[in-house]
Every structure is written in structure tokens, then in C-alpha cells.
């Protein structure tokens, strides 16, 4: 499971960074989204990987921490998802505005002469 998660994070982050460095605004926004997925998975991994362990205290079970997954990273991810969702939406608007104002989807607002 660790190797799958690590590969997943690696592939997402790698493609995210590659797209982020591309000259089209749409590629940049997809890159940022992929990167934020990778980071969210990374936060989850930082809370140690557990299977079949609930994060919330179940009725009738003891409060022994060993039985439970760490709930904090999950809360952090939730916050991070909300924030990155909002900022991505905002970025999308700016992207459209830039497209409308400059007439091109190049990040610098002008095609490179070549």
C-alpha cells in the first residue's frame, strides 16, 4: 500500500510540476490542481497509513489511540481541499479575464516570437 501511495503522490506531483511550468494558463491551473491532490495525499500519508481504523471514537470502544487512525491530518486535508478549491475557482476567473483582455492563453499574455 505504501508503494502505491508513494507512486501516486509522485506521479501526481511530477505531472503537476511539469504542467505548472507549461506556457498555457489552462495547463498551469490543471498543474496546480494535480499538485494540490498530491499534497493532500501527502498529508494523509504523514498521519501514518492505517487500514480499517476509524478516525472518530466509536460508541462502546475504548479510547485507546492504537485502535484509531489519526484524525488530525484528515481535518487538515479537509481544510486544504476547501481552500484550494476556492483559490482554484478564483484563479479560473483570472485566467478567463486574462484570456479576454489579452486574446491569448499564454501566461505572459503574448506569444513568444519564434
Amino acid at each position: 500500500m505504501e508503494i502505491i501511495l508513494a507512486l501516486g503522490i509522485g506521479v501526481l506531483a511530477g505531472s503537476g510540476v511539469w504542467l505548472l511550468l507549461r506556457p498555457r494558463t489552462f495547463q498551469v491551473i490543471i498543474g496546480l490542481t494535480l499538485l494540490s491532490y498530491a499534497v493532500n495525499l501527502f498529508i494523509l500519508a504523514m498521519g501514518r497509513l492505517r487500514t480499517g481504523a476509524p478516525a472518530i471514537l466509536a460508541a462502546g470502544r475504548s479510547g485507546e489511540p492504537a485502535h484509531y487512525a489519526d484524525p488530525l491530518p484528515q481535518a487538515l486535508i479537509l481544510t486544504a481541499i476547501v481552500i484550494s478549491f476556492a483559490t482554484t475557482a478564483l484563479f479560473l476567473v483570472v485566467l478567463l479575464a486574462a484570456r479576454g483582455l489579452t486574446g491569448t492563453d499564454h501566461v505572459d499574455g503574448a506569444e513568444r516570437e519564434s
Binding site: 499534497v39 498529508i43 487538515l76 479575464a97 486574462a98 483582455l101
Partner: protein, 550 residues
Amino acid sequence: MTGWIEHLPIVPVVLPLVAGAGMLLIDERRRGLKAALNLGAIIALAGVGLALLGLVANVPSSQTAAQVEVYRLGDWPVPFGIVLVVDRLAALMVVLTSVLALTSVVFSLARWHRAGAHFHSLFQFLLMGLNGAFLTGDLFNLFVFFELLLAASYGLMLHGSGTARVQAGLHYIAINLAASLLFLIGVSLLYAVTGTLNMADLATRIPLVPASDRMLLETGAAILGVAFLVKAGMWPLSFWLPSAYSVAAPPVAAIFAILSKVGVYVVLRLSLLLFSEEGPSVAPFGQEWLLFGGMATIAFGAIGVLAAQDTARLAGFAVLISSGTVLTAIGTGQPGVTASALFYLISSTLAISAFFLLVELIERGRGPGADILAVTLEAFGEEDEEELEAVEEVGIATPATLAVLGLSFIGCALVLAGLPPLSGFIAKFALLTALLNTPGPGTEAAVAPASWALLALLIVSGLATLIAMTRAGMRVFWAPLERAIPQVRLVELTPVVALLIACAGLTVQAEPLLQYTQKTAQTVHNPHDYIRGVLSGAAEEQSVPRGDGS
């Protein structure tokens, strides 16, 4: 301590939230009301900031420990809940923020607040994020406040619209989003190693981290540091800054002057808090990076001010010089230097803010920004009677306007270049003295080579600023008057003059302020009081159940 005083630390966060959210409900056309609310909230904020300052600065003589106000949100016990911590540094930054906010908003009343939607709400949200970032004692909460202030800053960056702003805003947002992701990676790495997010708790646990995890911990801290340094504008991470700041609407750029200082503030706070506690495996690390990175930033900024073609860009590079100077001072790791750097931070931030406002006044009527503004004003500002009211302009086409503008320009130049008699000189002088006088703890040697290099850089950067400012001033004020004298209203001139008078005030009151920053630097460099202050709340909580109804 009972009653409302106890809830004072949360006010700088809640007040802008309520004011900003409340203003969303008001019709966008009732700008007068919004402006009044915004101004009122900021004045109240300044009052609260001063009250907090008084609270932490007045240490009873019987008590040697530094005063730290801790506010537990929801009254959760300390390592688990989120805390707000007010110490000298945080209180100082809150007051500085409210001063800059006040002048920026007053300036915007002339016309800029009509150049787009929801200016006043966004402004309040920005203040909420700033104050929260200064006050919070929790790493993840810091992330949330950072995102909050960035989200508001994205909106303000685009305020007034126009191709240049959208273009620069696009870069600004992309870079800051990427930096936020780095922030998250750093936070989660620190959490993975230590199992806590509370800064004071982190500081006590970091010495206990086994050597095998040390690498992971330092990686996390370094990634976190990169995220903050992007915001602070350290050299290889700062290319976005001058272009973003120079095209932002002037009142926005004026408040953005404190935005880059947030990064500096967090670097100062965290690097000294997390890696100061003596322990077997703990050594301060990353200081050389700050030192040399900061120096590179100063050099880059100095070259930038010389190369800048237009005055707004010059101001953007001045931000870099200021950030770089403070970062380098932090990198020296000496309390004396940090104290002077804090003084420098206050004085340079005020001056840069004034300069951003001034640039727009003297450049008014030329350049492509003016017609874009006219278009957006037409789209948003429907009432033209305010323009008619504008007959009470100070001295239309009289030399008095130019004289005041010129004097303000000279004032800005003096502070930024660090020449007497304004506060920039005292700041630089204090910085140089501290560099020469404290050769570092433990070393008997005279002055380290790095200090000499920094000394030279500070003087050269001052010279570069002076040359650039003189050139810009000659171009603007001594050019033949073929263009109209800028029409300036009193409400626009007042904030600039007020900020410069504040700088003059800093000169007169330099001694008490320097004493304050020295104590601040000592508390920041010896964070035991901070840690004890935050964590003792937890012990107290477990032993004595508190009976108040908060």
C-alpha cells in the same frame, strides 16, 4: 484578568471579519457608508492594537518574565486547541498594520475605492488575515490565515482591473498557490515528526526528536521556510514581487508593503522559536541561507532600483531591499541586530507605503494606467457628483501642490536611502552599530567578514536608492512643465504626509522605540517565556477549572 480584557486578543481577527462580512450586505453603491464602516473598523483596530501593546509592554517590575497574552479559542486545553498569542512582536506588527491600513483607506477615498467592487470588504478580510497570521500560535492556523490574506490580496491585486493588473495578478496567484502547497508539505512533515502543530509545543518537542528523524524535520522546516521566503521576496524567489506591486492599485500596493513583512515576521518567529531550545540534537540551521540569501536580495534590489524605468517599479524594488535587509539581520542571529532590524522594518515599511501612494500622485495624468482607470471608473462609479465636489482641490495648478509633493518625495528618498534627519538614518545607523558591536556570541574575533560584507551592502544599497530616487525626482519635478500639474486632493495628500510625519515621529521617539524593539528581540531570541506562557495555560487549566462563562 477578567471580563472583556481577556477577549482582547481575538478582537483583531473578529472585528475585520464582522466588518467585512457586514459590508457585503450593503449595496455596492453606498460607498460612503462602506467607507465610514471601514475607517471606523480600522480605527477601532488601531485602538485594540495599542491596547494589546500596552498589555504586553507593561511588565510589572516584580516579574522578570516577558508578558505573553494567550487566548485559547473555545477554551480548549493548549496543545489540542488553537491559541492566539500576543507578545511584543505580534502586538507591534498589529499596530503597524492598522496604521498602514488607515492611511491606505483614506487615500483610496479620493477615487480608488470606486474603481472596482467590494474594495472595503476585501480590505477588511486582508486585515483579518494579516492580524491572524501575526497573532496565531498554531502552525496550521497560520496556514489558514495566510490563505485568507492571500485570497483577499488576490482580489485587491485585481482591483481596478486592466490588462497589466490581470496579467501580473495571474503570475502572483500562481506563484502564491504553489508556495501555499509548499507550506502544506512543510507543515505536514513537521506534524509527522513531532505530532503537534502548536508552535510552543513544537518548540519543546523538537529537541526530543531522535537523530534518525532529524533529517525529515529539517526538510520540513526548510520547505516551510521556502514558502515564507517566497512571500518575503528573498532573492531567487522574488521576481514576481516588483511587477505585481508596481501594477497594483496604489492604496493596495501601500498595504501590500506589510504583506511581504508577514513572511519576514514568520521566518523571524519560527526560526528562533523552533530551533532555539537547547537540546542534544538541536542546532540552529538555515541561518547562513537567510544571511546570504538576504544579502543577495539587497544586491538584487539595489540593481533593480537603479535599473527601474518607472517610479512604481522602483518602489517595488525598494520593498526587496527592505525585506532583504531584515532577512539578513535575522540571519546574523544576534538579538542586537534583530532589534535594529525591527526598527528598520517599521520605518522602511511606513516609507515604502508612503512612496507607493506618492508615486501615483506624481505620475498622475500620464502613463497608460490613467485611461484604464477612467474606463473602470466609468463602469463602476456611476455618481459623478463626487467629481463635481472635487472643486475643493488643494491648489489646482498652483505650485503649492508640487511643493508638497516634492517635499514628500524628498522625505521618502531620505528614509529609504537612510539619510538624516528622518528615521531611515536612525534605523540604518542602529543596524550598522549593532553589526559592528556584537561580533556574535562566543566568538572573540572582531567583526565577521559576513558582517563587513553586509555593512558594505547596506551602504551601497542606500547609495543606489539615493541615486535612483534623485534621478526619478529630477525627471518628475525638474522637467519642463509641458504636462499639467497633477491635480491632487487633500484627502490623497494627507496620508502621504501623515506617513512621513510618522517617520519623523520615529526619529524623535527613536529611543523608547529602540528600547521596545530591543526587549522584543530579546523575547524573540529567548522564547522560553513564550513557550512557558503558552504551555502553562494547559497546566493551569488541568488544575484549576475556570468558572467564567466564556
